[in-house]
């Protein structure tokens, strides 16, 4: 961590000089830059030790291992990722992007790697179920621009049910309002909703699921100039074949998983990745995250 601090200072000073003489092109490295908004557990987040962890990032790391290239992970605001990929500042966008026709016009997507449905979160003490949650007069929260918000718009409000849709910049703010009982329900991605239930200490529960069948994909610059998509798609297939995929899903989305363990688990186990043994990494990560015994490299 300290070296990162020093890096910041050094780069800051260097950049000051470089930036002032007009910017010198960076030397082309062999590594590809993976950009992600690392604040979205369990897909990607920053753990208590400052490590970048999560499902998307592990998939990116392991595919790179299997296909023989290096990656640098860059933490970047979600809204900036597609512009950065288009401008060539990032090679891969890996941040739980839903594959949409609109996005396909500006970037290319990998094969889908995740199917997400929407969960309806309610306060545990409210007694609401998936039907009563959408009663007339209720206030429903969702993150602006998400499938959840769209679903409420299309399937509740446009059907003539008089609910109020309150939009938030980001869903944890909606969850906070739900805990404070200022709104009646929140519609959001299932994995995120599960995390919310766990961290709310019993204040929230999932009233039910809505099948929207959104698909997540990794994205690259239009035309895939670095020929990355075949490698990513191949790599993901290989992960599934070798059982790595299921172990990662177990590690991040399993029933007994405590995401707070990740700081310890990742620190202990990332050596497996350095030793080029992704199978051992995924297997032990799944064990560690659900509190079972695991083997360090």
């Amino acid at each position: 961590m300290r070296s990162r601090v020093r890096w910041f200072v050094a780069v800051g000073l260097l950049a000051l000089v470089v930036g002032m003489i007009g910017g010198v092109p960076q030397a082309q490295t062999q590594a590809f830059k993976v950009c992600s908004d690392i604040a979205w557990p369990p897909f990607e987040w920053v753990d208590a030790r400052g490590q970048f962890v999560g499902f998307d990032l592990d998939v990116m790391r392991i595919v790179a291992l299997l296909k023989g290239y290096r990656i640098d992970i860059q933490n970047l605001a979600f809204d900036s990722i597609i512009p950065a990929v288009v401008a060539g500042q990032c090679d891969i966008g890996a941040s739980g992007f839903t594959i949409t026709e609109e996005r396909k016009r500006v970037v290319d997507f990998s094969d889908p790697y995740w199917e997400s449905n929407q969960a309806v979160l309610v306060h545990a003490a409210s007694g609401l179920n998936i039907i009563t949650a959408f009663k007339a007069g209720q206030i429903i929260g969702a993150q602006r621009g998400t499938t959840g918000a769209d679903w409420v718009e299309q399937n509740v409000i446009k059907q003539g049910i008089n609910v109020t849709l309150r939009l938030y910049e980001t869903y944890p703010l909606a969850e906070q309002d739900l805990i404070n009982r200022r709104i009646h329900a929140v519609v959001e991605d299932e994995p995120a909703a599960k995390v919310a239930v766990k961290t709310s200490r019993g204040a929230l529960k999932i009233a039910g699921m809505i099948n929207t069948e959104e698909l997540f994909g990794f994205l690259v610059r239009k035309g895939d100039p670095n020929r990355l998509l075949p490698r990513i798609n191949d790599g993901m297939k290989e992960m599934k074949r070798k059982g790595i995929w299921n172990n990662l899903i177990e590690a991040y989305f399993g029933v007994d998983v405590n995401l707070d363990r990740v700081a310890q688990c990742y620190a202990d186990l990332k050596g497996w990745l350095d030793r080029n043994q992704p199978e051992a990494y995924a297997e032990n990560l799944a064990a560690c995250m659900s509190g079972q015994t695991y083997r360090r490299p």
């Binding site: 910041f8 950049a15 000051l16 930036g19 910017g23 092109p25 920053v46 933490n75 500042q89 944890p172």
Partner: protein
């Protein structure tokens, strides 16, 4: 029991928040430096330059004051990418914020120059000093002193503006707080802590500038007013 856990959470978050503070402060200090280096010539150009220079400096100042900082950041960082020029995010941030701040700092400095009596410059010229000497030995030392209160404002202003830089991937204090909040869902607690840190940083900075101001203060210098007749030399 739960309260204790929350205290512990804050305690454990301090190293990460500290990293954020370091980035925020490095950025703030660098950008103020760049802004100062650019802002002074802009102000001098506006106050003493020939007409074309004055116009140029005024348009520079207006341009950067009109531009939202986020737009500038994105245009510079991603725009240059289209031309195949890849600049480091932190360097881009320093330069973009520096340019933006130089416009504001030039205003502060120009105000200070205008507060200096015309006779000061006349007296220097009458001694046989060149324009440049008069500006260097008479105008600058006085104007810099008069600018210090304005810079206190500028410091606390840009300190908060730096939270925009995550748009180009620089993780500063607010973003560090955000990342902790997303992990722990303790949004309120984390951001109260972040707010307190900003408060401390603002207080420390203005305290330091006030100290400098007092250290450099000269009796009677702040109370001067501009003479009515226009530019003489």
């Amino acid at each position: 029991m739960q309260r204790l856990e929350k205290l512990e959470l804050i305690w454990q978050s301090l190293p990460l928040l500290g990293e954020g503070v370091l980035v925020t402060m490095t950025l703030t200090i660098s950008l103020l430096g760049v802004g100062l280096l650019l802002g002074i010539p802009v102000a001098l150009g506006q106050a003493y330059g020939p007409r074309p220079v004055r116009l140029l400096m005024s348009s520079y100042e207006r341009f950067f004051r009109a531009m939202p900082i986020l737009v500038l950041l994105i245009v510079c960082f991603y725009g240059l990418g289209f031309w195949g020029i890849y600049v480091p995010a932190f360097g881009t941030a320093v330069v973009v914020f520096g340019l933006h701040s130089s416009a504001y700092q030039s205003q502060i400095f120009r105000g200070a120059i205008q507060a200096i009596k015309e006779g000061q410059l006349l007296a220097a010229r009458a001694l046989g000093m060149s324009r440049l000497q008069a500006i260097r030995y008479i105008v600058l030392p006085q104007a810099l002193r008069l600018s210090l209160p304005g810079w206190s404002n500028e410091y606390s202003g840009v300190l908060k503006d730096t939270s925009f830089v995550f748009a180009i991937g620089v993780t500063e204090l607010t973003r560090q707080g955000w990342q902790i909040a997303m992990r722990t869902r303790e949004i309120f607690l984390v951001f109260i802590t972040v707010a307190v840190i900003y408060l401390i940083l603002t207080y420390l900075g203005t305290w330091l500038l006030e100290r400098i101001e007092r250290r450099l203060s000269v009796p009677g210098l702040a109370g001067q007013r501009r003479e009515e007749h226009g530019r003489v030399i």
